[in-house]
């Protein structure tokens, strides 16, 4: 038998009118299976309810360039966590390390109190991932791709078949189910990748730029879907450049720049009365003052 993370929940109906996989019930909070090593629990502030994701001292360098320089982050269970930062801040690197796609130079990743890098096979099933900038197996059709993702997670055939239908409806790709993913537009690819991330009903969703290139209607549908997922006990981490979106959608936010966490907490705390965007600019800096490019005007030729 292959190790399976028991992350399957029964299906449930959501406000978007489709049946999507449900995250595990909140009762799953005490450690199960192999209990995490007690030593790792001692420094947790609330040892009884481990955070959905806890990052401790993550470091990662690529050659001379340090992408992540000591990131600590606590993502509470049931939060909708936004990760914001300028380009090259280390968001994608942090998320890759947190999801087992990239080996950190140092540091610890605890998913629901269990050490990801100590036992990746046992922990990965709890995670649903949407990476940014990585390809999909795009010679498969949309339906095949979701099926593939489900089967790789060890789901049985009936579950995969019924969830594939639900997910195709949820991301509005029923009409394109038999089209090869290579022929999808960028937005469609994002949506099918999101469906793949959801198929095994993970308890923690990690989405890197999930709304990039997605049309407004699909984006609204996806937001609803993620909202109800969080409402039913799931945890979502999204990275985004769109401050406005994060401010409206997320309960928590962390501002990352140059591989460090500059501020983290609830959105209310972090923005401290100002808009998130203003606060972000204040924290990160780097606005270029001046009159811009004088020659870049249509009348000047």
């Amino acid at each position: 038998m292959r190790p399976k993370a028991d992350v399957r929940g029964p299906g449930g109906f959501y406000c978007v009118g489709v049946n999507v996989p449900e995250p595990p019930p909140p009762a799953r909070q005490e450690p199960y299976g192999q209990a995490p090593a007690p030593a790792r629990q001692t420094h947790a502030p609330q040892p009884d309810v481990p955070e959905a994701l806890r990052l401790r001292g993550l470091w990662k360098s690529f050659g001379p360039k340090t992408a992540v320089a000591g990131v600590d982050l606590d993502v509470p269970r049931g939060s909708f966590y936004g990760l914001v930062g300028p380009n090259g801040a280390g968001k994608t690197t942090t998320l890759s390390i947190s999801t087992g796609l990239l080996v950190p130079d140092a540091g610890q990743v605890l998913v629901h109190g269990r050490d990801l890098w100590a036992a990746p096979q046992q922990v990965k099933g709890m995670l649903g991932i949407l990476p940014d900038g990585l390809r999909l197996f795009d010679r498969l059709t949309g339906a095949q791709l979701i099926t593939y993702a489900g089967l790789l997670q060890g789901l049985d055939r009936e579950t995969v078949v019924s969830r594939t239908e639900d997910l195709l409806r949820a991301v509005d790709l029923v009409a394109d189910r038999d089209t090869l993913v290579v022929d999808y537009s960028a937005g469609m690819s994002k949506k099918i990748a999101l469906a793949c991330a959801l198929v095994h009903a993970p308890s923690l969703l990690v989405l890197d730029e999930p709304f990039e290139a997605v049309d407004p209607i699909s984006a609204a549908n996806i937001r609803d879907l993620l909202g109800s997922y969080v409402a039913s006990g799931g945890t979502v981490i999204v990275s985004s450049h769109v401050m406005d979106l994060v401010q409206r959608m997320c309960s928590h936010v962390a501002v990352i720049a140059a591989g460090r966490v500059l501020a983290a907490g609830t959105v209310e705390d972090v923005r401290a009365g100002a808009s998130l965007e203003d606060r972000f600019v204040e924290l990160v800096g780097g606005r270029v003052a001046g009159e811009g490019l004088a020659w870049l005007s249509t009348s000047s030729d």
Binding site: V103, L134, R157
Partner: protein
Amino acid sequence: MVEHLVRLKLTLLRNGLRRSPWQIVGMVVGALYGVMALIGVGVGIVALALSTDASLRRAVLVVGGSAVVLGWAVLPMIAFGVDATLDPARFVTFPVPTRRLLAGLGLAALIGVPGVVTVLGVLGASVVWWREPVVVPVAMLTGLLAVAVAVVASRATTTTLASVLSGRRTREASAFAFLVLLAAAYLGFGRLTTGGLGPGTDLRGLLSGVADVLGWTPVGAAWAAPADAAAGAWGTAVLRTLVLVASLAALLVWWDRAMARALVRPASKDAAAGAHGLGMFARLPATPLGAVTARCLTYWRRDPRYILAVAAVPLVPIAMYAFGSGSTALWFLPMMTGILGWSIAADTSSDGTAFWAHVAAPLRGVDDRLGRAIAAGLVLVPLAALLVVVLGVLTGHADDLPALLGVGLGTLGVSLGVASVMSALVVMRVQQSGENVFGTRQGGSVVSVLSQLVGMLAVLGLSSPVLGLCVLAVVRHSAVLGWSALVVGLALGATVLTVGVRWGGRLLDRRAPVILQEIVSMV
């Protein structure tokens, strides 16, 4: 514009070298090869220049020169691909007139070891005519024209085929049709030359005969013209030069059209392809292993890279046979089946960054390895068996089929097993899905070449028991030895495959994120 493109190419080359020391090593090795080739050519040129036999000089130059031009025109399609660093598709967004783009790309194509060697060799070859100093500049001129023909022809063919092949629906079919055509031409040529090269035929007479024909074709005219001029037949020389110029013009028009089409229709944006239902996913067991197998089988069917890697292999021994080598072709059999199995050594690399799906899932490494091996086996075992039977019967070794099958399937299993380990260790530079199938990636190939070499040696070493048994069985015409070779081959193949899949799986359990990172940094 021309200058820009040449400078761009040089910058790309320099930046590539700056990226990793291995690129420099690759460049140095390539340059050494080039220098060696130049020395070889130089010796030949000096020998020819000293020869007083004008007809020999002419015949050798025409045949050799034609081979160079043909090599430029045809080899990229079969073997090396064209350097895709200056892919025309990358200039789509710039308002560059195609004509200038052509000139720039053509010149830039000569930057690199093969281009430099060719130009130097061609210019050097004009020394052969030192006895008639007037002819030397003529030889240089026609030689450079021939280089232009060679480069333009290579670009024209690959641009055309790449844009034809980028329509996914047609890609498989046309790639295959092309290979069949090529095989037919190759076999025809083989029959022709071996038919003409019976005992007692005058080799020099044959060479001259071939040279006479080639001298009027675009590939050979450039080399026959100076010979005519040296002999005083300036009219013929001018005529041949006209052939050269006309074919260059025709090729330019062809390339221009092909490129114009490629620029307007950059990626494959034809009718979206699809397939109904879940295909293989519905037919194979609903387990992670079944899913990986189904995915790989789907790729074997839909991705031209898999087809191209395998399609050319069976041609070699069959061509050997056609060239009249008789039973010698059998020696190539284990090599061919070994190479067939080795094709999955690039499997992980071929996934590209899509491999993250395997890393993200709680997928056991052994399931990943085994799924790929099963899918490859389902395609390759029948192919290898067919190859063995066809060759065995053709060469009159039908009695030895058990031994030959033992060797064929044994080496196939061994190389599948070794490749399963290798592709969990080393990431190779391969075309990414959807890239120009005729493109090559610049440099950085030394590690992968070395690993290929080590892997092939391992395959050879591990299959040696069955190889030895098979040779004994064939030489002694022993049925007992033949059948034992079959048993040993199957057992050996199965054992190495099992060990390789398990070992590779354990490696992958540990190294999957590292492999993914290497793929990401390579793309």
